[in-house]
């Protein structure tokens, strides 16, 4: 599959991927934080600090995306990852489709 690679391209590709992954991890962290907050194992002060730290992380990621001009690239990666997951799930829930596809391909 021919892809034109130059340094800018590569930067957007690699950087986009890295930041997309950082965002996904950050989302997971957020979820964990909320669970702990709801679980009542944290003091209010701890929740306050946790919230501030996560907020800073959020802002930092937004800054980097702006600075490097990769906001759209990151969105593309995440949408792409979503689509891939959707496709896999779709095949799992709908094995008939998978079978039909492989038949068409002559496998």
């Amino acid at each position: 599959m021919p892809i034109d690679i130059d340094t800018d391209n590569l930067k957007h590709g690699v950087l986009g991927l890295v930041i997309a992954l950082v965002e996904i991890i950050k989302d997971a962290l957020n979820l964990q934080a909320i669970k702990r907050m709801e679980g009542g194992t944290l003091s209010e002060e701890e929740v306050e600090r946790l919230g501030e730290a996560l907020m800073d992380l959020d802002l930092a990621i937004e800054e980097i995306k702006k600075e490097q001009g990769v906001t759209e690239s990151v969105k593309s990666v995440r949408d792409g990852l979503d689509s891939i997951v959707d496709e896999v799930l779709d095949k799992m829930i709908n094995p008939e489709r998978w079978r039909k596809e492989s038949e068409e391909k002559g496998i």
Binding site: G51, E52, A53
Partner: protein
Amino acid sequence: MAEARYLYCIVEGSEEDITLGNIGIEGSRVYAIPYQDLCAVVHNCSPEPYKSEDQEKFKLWLTTHAKVVEVAWERFGTVLPLGFDTIIKGEEGIAPDENLKKWLKGDYENLRQKLAKLKDRAEFGVQVFWDPKIISEWVIETSPEIKKLSEEIKSKSKGLAYMYKQKLENLLKKELEKEADRYFKVFYEQIKRCVDQIKVEKTKKNEEDKQMLLNLSCLLFKGKSKILGEELEKINHLKGFFVRFTGPWPPYSFV
């Protein structure tokens, strides 16, 4: 170099020497190759697929393909359309026409049945979108848990407010998913009642202010599209919802 046949569609027809003129890709002469009471609408081409880096050119080929199928549809009443770049080849000692006829013979019953099922019918595309912002507002208003949370956030300190905001967004997302599911089922049933056959297509993630909930291909009598249109009008009228209704198309999705 053996010649090949670019295949547009299969139609019912038994006239001799049917030709549709030079309306094919790259101005090729489009004509029909008969087998019993079926015809294959083709043009002669070299045995390689149509490929181009030039987007405009490629777009033109695609719209030409579509146009030929439409013309055949108009002339012959019912068509079994083929996808772009379906090219029948010839082999050692076998002309492409022979290959074509062999296939028509082998699949004859199947093709006849399909043509019968599609008689007088057309395909229509239906897509329903919603504006996530408007729907979110509505969800916040009508869900006591979420409404209470959004009120509480106003009085919290920075870090706490952030955490609560995350929680709110999560709850909102879950509620939206539930609503999307509910509306999907409701609209699907509503539309299914107005059509003969229905196919669920993949939704696309394109726009910021519109989210696709439902993507359907519908097969129905051309005349009945008005009834479907009325149902869709009702959906389009709902606050925050938007419908895209396209067609009539040759029945690409139902062959």
